[in-house]
């Protein structure tokens, strides 16, 4: 069977596709930072808790990070919604298909994620009173988040390669994965190492804002940045592995044939290298800024690679538009108002100068 005949007809979209792509990329950036921070933070935390012995030290230096995790999980899940929503507008016909092909694994994300979410709460709640259970909860949460990432990589890669879809006729039970694809492992590792790097940075951020005037604080920040720098070093290697695993045509496009793709990839690599250097040097703010530049460039590169993969099977220009600009504007107005309200709540929530409640 010709796989091209399987590609579903896309629905009409309510605004030009670039609007959704920009929104998707922008909000994905926020989502991935949160998720990387959660996973990486949790991995480092678990490592520290297993390897460390001083419980007092744990409460002083690890618990503050642990307390951030449930909140970041909440926000991370929340921030997953808009990129997934906007992705479905532009690539829905591809995404729904790949999701069905791996339906069993895909839907399992939901109950597992609920468990992981509770796991992060249990981890904090039982941090001191039941350290074993606490650590186990964190471990379970990590495994689940690794599972979710694993499945997302599967789904994205299946979505981008309709030529793999004919596997459906051998397996209709929703258990198709794409792990044998040469790009799969480097792509997945790219997510994990990025998480460790961002996790290191999370530590640095938490310590940076920690009310602690001792010298130990700066040491801890430097240690955290070191984790960030080492992980980023590994990430550079994994990144090149990933680059070399993609089809030759795409490599050439990233090597100059496609100027935009090349520029963003180079920018990402350079900023990444810059971030790891400043990380090793223990310079907090420059490391953060360069990491952000790396993430933006890599997210754009991710999109460019997606379009390369899909180039034979889907062009954005194929999408028909039936505009709903009025509602788009309404959304933007609501978004601004919502952000305003959030800012207001943060302001009054953290404004305790005028005294506490009775």
């Amino acid at each position: 069977m010709e796989y091209q005949s399987l590609i579903p007809v896309a629905d009409t979209i309510p605004a030009p596709s670039w609007i959704f792509i920009v929104l998707e990329q922008l909000l994905f950036l926020l989502h991935i930072i949160l998720v990387n921070a959660v996973l990486g933070g949790a991995l480092i935390l678990l490592f520290k808790r297993i390897s460390g012995k001083d419980e007092k030290n744990m409460i002083n230096w690890q618990l503050p990070v642990a307390k951030k995790l449930p909140v970041m999980v909440a926000l991370g899940i929340n921030m997953a919604i808009p990129p997934l929503l906007f992705l479905q507008v532009v690539f829905g016909h591809l995404f729904y298909t790949s999701s069905v092909l791996m339906a069993v694994y895909w839907i399992l994300i939901i109950p597992l994620l609920i468990l992981a979410y509770y796991g992060t709460y249990i981890h904090v709640g039982k941090f001191a009173s039941s350290p074993g259970f606490s650590k186990f909860s964190l471990f379970a949460a990590i495994l689940i988040i690794l599972y979710v990432g694993f499945m997302l990589v599967n789904n994205n890669s299946l979505m981008e390669q309709p030529e793999l879809w004919t596997a459906y006729f051998e397996n209709r039970g929703g258990t198709i994965l794409n792990v044998s694809n040469p790009t799969f492992l480097p792509r997945y590792l790219h997510f994990i190492t990025a998480s460790v790097a961002v996790g290191g940075l999370l530590y640095a951020v938490v310590y940076f804002f920690k009310k602690d005037e001792t010298e130990q604080k700066n040491e801890k920040i430097k240690d955290a940045l070191k984790i960030f720098a080492i992980a980023t070093s590994v990430q550079v290697v994994v990144g090149f592995w990933y680059l070399l695993a993609i089809p030759r045509d795409f490599i050439l496009q990233f090597m100059g044939q496609n100027l935009v793709a090349t520029v963003f990839l180079m920018l990402g690599i350079l900023a990444g290298i810059g971030a790891l250097v400043t990380g090793f040097l223990g310079k907090f703010k420059p490391a953060v800024v360069q990491l952000l530049i790396t993430l933006v460039a890599m997210i754009i590169t991710r999109h460019n690679l997606r379009m390369m993969y899909l180039s034979d099977n889907f062009q954005l220009s194929e999408l028909k538009i039936s505009p709903q600009y009025g509602i788009l504007i309404l959304f933007l107005v609501v978004l601004v108002a919502g952000l305003g309200a959030i800012a207001y709540m943060l302001k009054i929530g953290f404004n305790n100068k005028e005294g506490r409640a009775a």
């Binding site: 399987l6 579903p8 629905d11 009409t12 979209i13 309510p14 929104l23 909440a74 926000l75 899940i77 929340n78 921030m79 997953a80 919604i81 808009p82 929503l85 906007f86 479905q88 507008v89 829905g92 016909h93 729904y96 298909t97 999701s99 069905v100 092909l101 339906a103 895909w106 839907i107 939901i110 994620l113 609920i114 979410y117 509770y118 709460y121 879809w165 459906y168 006729f169 209709r172 929703g174 039936s322 709903q324 009025g326 509602i327 788009l328 959304f331 609501v334 978004l335 919502g338 309200a341 959030i342 709540m345 009054i348 929530g349 953290f350 404004n351 305790n352 506490r356 409640a357 009775a358």
Partner: protein, 882 residues
Amino acid sequence: MNYPIWELYNLNSGTLVAFISTIHAYVAHLAVGGGLFLWLTDLKAVRDKNPLISAYVRKHTWFFLLLTMVFGGVSGVGIWFIIALANPAATSSLIHNFVFGWAIEWVFFIGEITALLIYHYRHDQMREKDRLRVAFLYFLFAWLSMVIINGILSFMLTPGNWLETQGFWAGFFNPSYFSSLFFRTSASIMIAGLFGYVTVVFSNDAELRKQMLRYCTKWLLYPVPLIALGAVWYYFTVPEAVRFTTFQLNAQTQFIVTAFIVTSVLIFVFGIFFSLRTTPIIQRVLIFVFILIGLGWYSSFEYIREYARKPYIIYGYMYSTSIIESDIETINKDGLLKHAKWTTVKEINNDNELEAGRELFNIQCLACHTVGGVKNDIIEKTKNLSYMGMISQLYGQGKTLDYMPKFVGTQREMEALSAFITTELAGKEKVSQLSHYEPEPVENDIPPFDMKNDEYVLLAWNDLGMHCISDCDPWFILLPPANTLEAQLIKRGELPEIINEGVEIRYRVQKGFENPAAHVDFWDYTESYFGVKLDKNVGLGGKGLEGEFDWNEDRNSFIAEMIPVVPYNDDGSFNPYPLFYVEAIDKESGEVLMTTKTVAPVSTEMGCRNCHGGGWRVNGVSGVADETAINILKVHDRLNETNLYESAAAGKPVLCQSCHADPALGAEGKEEHNNFSTAIHGWHANYMYVEGGQACTMCHPASRKGNTRCNRGIHPQAGLNCVNCHGNLIDHATGLLNAQKDKPSSQRLLRNLQGSVPEVSPRLPWIQEPDCLGCHRDFEAPQKNATSFNQWVVGFNELYRIRTDMAGVRCEACHNSTHSEYPTVNAFGKNRDNTQTMQYSGSPLPIGAENQCEICHKKKMEYSIHHPNMVRDFRNLNLVSK
């Protein structure tokens, strides 16, 4: 069609949708109502300066956060995941039409989460005023989320003008938007009260429990009137057709409605109970029960809403099967497989039929059915259907019972799907043809007649060409065993006389048929059916298998009504044409004036089994088997909320005509129901997938290869079949339904019947039948392509079986019964039906044909007073010689 289908046979993705959605939505409503609850309870604590309530709010917030934000938040995403797996096309449609709505909802969601996190984590660090503002903002955002999602949810049930305009706002502010929002808002407040108890009963502070239990009860019960009002409002904002389908047609909804009512009452009772003083232990146990009752209540509401949408996923636009309404015409023409992207088969042949059936099953059935699973198990649902029954089911699906979608595709695809379900899934045999039976002709002596010396001609006939009985007496009877014989005795002479005095006409059945009670159970159930206890082998008219005719002035004939003959011979053979010996005896002298024979055609070859499953009841040849009968009763019970099966199983079978009027039995039935013939033809016309005479033979014993072959007169020999007189089944049914057009059931059955003529004249069964003179105008030869369909006689007395000629001789006396008009061909013996005409004229032609006036007149006559165009040569002699 556009997407691959997750082949989850045992569970079905729809079940997962239901599971995730109901639990999520229950908690999501708590998130809304609970927001109001937290804000106002906190406000009360502040205003009353009540530290107990403050402590309660603090504690409840934590529970609330863990439940609504963690479980509620992720399970909400879960719905999105699962609907995209279960119905990607519909999800895509919702996303593409309402993406900015969803995006706005996300803004509210993040506002909601931020507020709740701040309210919880900064609870004690904020000023009271600010904390209350955050609480209010939490509620506002949560409710605004509902404002958005309600628009999309209610759109799916009542898309309103969106169907024409496809506009965002037309879909969003749809007809049931505000009623749904009102109902949901009210319900969310009640749910907040219910969950409010949880924190209370687990508190160890007795004073707090005392204060807060009553407080929560108020939250639980005060919204009840609003919920009731909202429910009524909601009910009336959905279209009437939807309400009818949901609450009248769909038996599955009845259970859910009952659950909704029962749980409503239980919530009220539990609410009162929790406000009373009981021990904390009992309360802590019962609160879990209470929460489950709340879930039951809420789930039943959502279920009813979901069922109301059936068979659509977006009402009037897209079916649950993902097929778009406007594509149906094209798909029906080209075939579904051609348009479906994710199928291996595009053209069906004998080798790939089952594979094609699987593809069709996945597309058209799997959205709602499982295979051996918990919900709508297809094997269980179709267990009573044969292969042909399955095709009928698919053909009629969605035509009378609107909650199922119509089958989409070609007839060949329908057959492939049926083959897949019945053979591959249910492991049944595929029987695609009616049963074939080769009768053995039985010898039949022709009684003597001396043209020269005999003084009398005795003509006897059965009033109907075939009396059909269902011999599944313990379960139901369509008609009782009851053949009616008539006879006219003619004294021969130049001016013959019809004799009605001084003679006695006697009858007796041929040997082997004297004891029908040995073959059928009819006599065990006469009290249940007719309220009378009959002696064995005596019919409802008091006649047995041997007896005397009575003179009937109206009919101008001797008549023996309702003789309970059956087609089973004591020797084990089946013969639907038992012969009756008829004798005319001089009352005074006792002399036998004339003897003749006639058949009493009676058959148990009912085609029910072709679709409803089961074998033949008797010797693998004929009769309605228990299995078939039970299946039919159960279908009737399911669709009409009767309990016919239970009643029959308890030994008290119900007479169909006790509800459905029937002129054949003189039964008045019930006013609201269609008469029996109309109900049975009207219903089955919607399900009959074959046309022409073939459709008739699916049920009636008229198949040319069957065990009865009842259509044995001159007409089939001339190439005519049932429809030439009665019309196609659809036309036939339409005529009957048109006569009862004022009944809602008729309107429902007529909706999808498209006959061959614009207007079928209404007719009453048994009373208005096709008029012979419709074709034989003025008794002449019919015109080419003549039909008597839609030319019904005006009333009972105009029926062929009742009418006489100008001399008082009954039509049937000379031409024989309906469906067996001379000359006949009977597979059980060529001249079995021709006995009398062979006796009197030596030929199978009608009595008096070919100018054989001497049979009665003792001489040739110059003209006929019987009817015009009689004195002539027989037209179709060439057929007789065949």
